[in-house]
């Protein structure tokens, strides 16, 4: 018991500075997304759903965004402090889609059945007997499926995702922060880095995403 208490105390002493450090790093990176390059020229406006954060190399971060119909969005990720990260930050855009499906469940019911018999005096006797009944029940349910709308891992060149949508939808942006430190540049292995996820928007040009003659 004493050993256990000592272990808990030790863990608490070690965790406090670790948490403070993590929190400190998180705040240290506030606003870093402002250093990502964005294009005001084309009428894009900085979208407040952009995020900044502190991450360990090798981390994967997730952000959910709501995007509106008839808006033109651009998403990019940057790590402005370290050139080593240029072109290496990759992200995927995922949508969780609900799909209707039929699910068949096997259900076992215990049914009480009354059985009538006659006793030795020829009187009718009722007896309740429990009976197991198995049946299949079909239910229509919505199942969740992840659809990858954009896979930056496959896209060697581009580090920017520009899109429009036919309806308002919720998207998950999953950013992977690669382990590139300790390979000769300023960034050391295991060092925390500040990453910005930049979202920009503008009203979609009327003909964008539509075919003409």
């Amino acid at each position: 018991m004493k050993k256990l208490i000592n272990k808990i105390l030790l863990l608490a002493l070690v965790s406090v500075p670790m948490l403070s450090h993590a929190q400190g790093s998180q705040y240290m990176c506030n606003g870093v997304v402002q250093d990502c390059i964005y294009n005001k020229k084309d009428g894009y406006v900085y979208n407040q759903q952009s995020q900044s954060g502190a991450f360990m190399q090798g981390d994967t971060a997730k952000v959910t965004l709501v995007v509106y119909k008839n808006m033109d969005y651009r998403i990019s990720a940057c790590c402005p402090d370290y050139e080593e990260m240029d072109g290496k930050l990759k992200f995927r855009v995922i949508e969780e889609v609900k799909e209707a499906a039929w699910v068949t469940n096997t259900v076992t019911e215990t049914v009480v059945e009354t059985i009538y018999t006659t006793d030795e005096y020829d009187n009718e006797v009722a007896e309740d007997v429990e009976k197991q009944v198995t049946k299949e029940v079909k239910k229509r349910v919505f199942t969740k499926k992840e659809v990858i709308r954009y896979d930056g891992y496959k896209d060697e060149e581009a580090s920017l995702f520009e899109f429009i949508s036919d309806k308002t939808r919720k998207l998950i942006v999953e950013v992977y922060i690669p382990e590139v430190g300790g390979e000769g540049g300023d960034l050391e292995a295991g060092q925390i880095v500040c990453v910005g996820l930049l979202v920009e928007h503008r009203p979609a040009p009327k003909n964008l995403g539509k075919f003409g003659k």
Binding site: M18, L19, A22, Y27, N30, G31, K40, V45, Y46, N47, Q48, Q49, S50, Q51, G53, T60, A61, K62, V63, T64, L65, V66, V67, Y68, K69, N70, M71, E95, V97, K98, E99, A100, N105, T106, V107, T108, E109, T110, V111, V112, F142, K144, V147, R149, Y150, F161, E162, F163, I164, S165, D166, K167, T168, R169, K170, I172, H201, P203, G209, F211
Partner: protein
Amino acid sequence: MKKLKTWKPFIFGAIGVSMTLVGCGEETPAPENEPVVNKDTTEVVEVAVEDNMQYSVPTPNELFNVLKSLNMPFNASLMNDPANVENYTESMSQALNFGVYSADLAMAASYNEGTNTLAYFKVIRKLGESLNINNAFDETVFKRVEENINSGSTDSLTVLSNDTYYDAYSYLQENQRGATLAMIVVGGWAESIHILANSGTFVEGSEFSKRLADQRLTMENLMGFLMDYQDDENIAIIMEELIPLDEFFMNLEVIEGDAISTSEEDGVYVLTGGSDVSMSAADFEILKTLVSDLRGSIVNAEL
């Protein structure tokens, strides 16, 4: 911060186990002569806990662009009267109404309403002083607004209103005042949905009805965003106030849409398909009442 979140599944797991234990102790006999249904144990109930997810909430600016695209007219009577600023003496009402006025500013700016835009800039500056976030604002922004209005050039008002909101947002984040920020976000959303709900005539299946139903997604993200600050007493009160709206949106009917598809044309992706959320005329009336109650309690400083 991230490390703390990893405790969430453990806590939920612990609650789940204790609930199961309580359930075992309180075994109740089945009523006589009624079938006892033992469901197959293969049925899976999915509970997703995303411990490393950040929730973003779209700002009023974006929503008012949508409103404009629906050719909804500008209606100043839907906005909170700048004179009401004198009523906001508590930090909670100040933060919530900072959000409300930010939405009004975004609305006025997106419709190039110069005089209204200036009035809301002034009221935001005043509330910013009370909330001690005026250091966030670049004073040149206010000069630029006046110059833009005086010169009749109102094109950049949206950009300036966006910048002001961003400055306040970043300042609060940097100064670790997340709860104040969360209240501003709630106020902004409440005012946006109030303006949206009262800007059009409801016709089932119309673009207007779809845009309102879409707010279900924003509501989900708003609640996700607030969860990070729910230990704050004021945020807990606000979250409780939001429950009726949250439940309303959760109960809207989800209907199947077209097949999911992603295409690319000249580097621009087009996302199509997926389910829709439908809203009936009766739902719309309920929504209007719920929004009016929420917005009323904010602008009347009753929270």
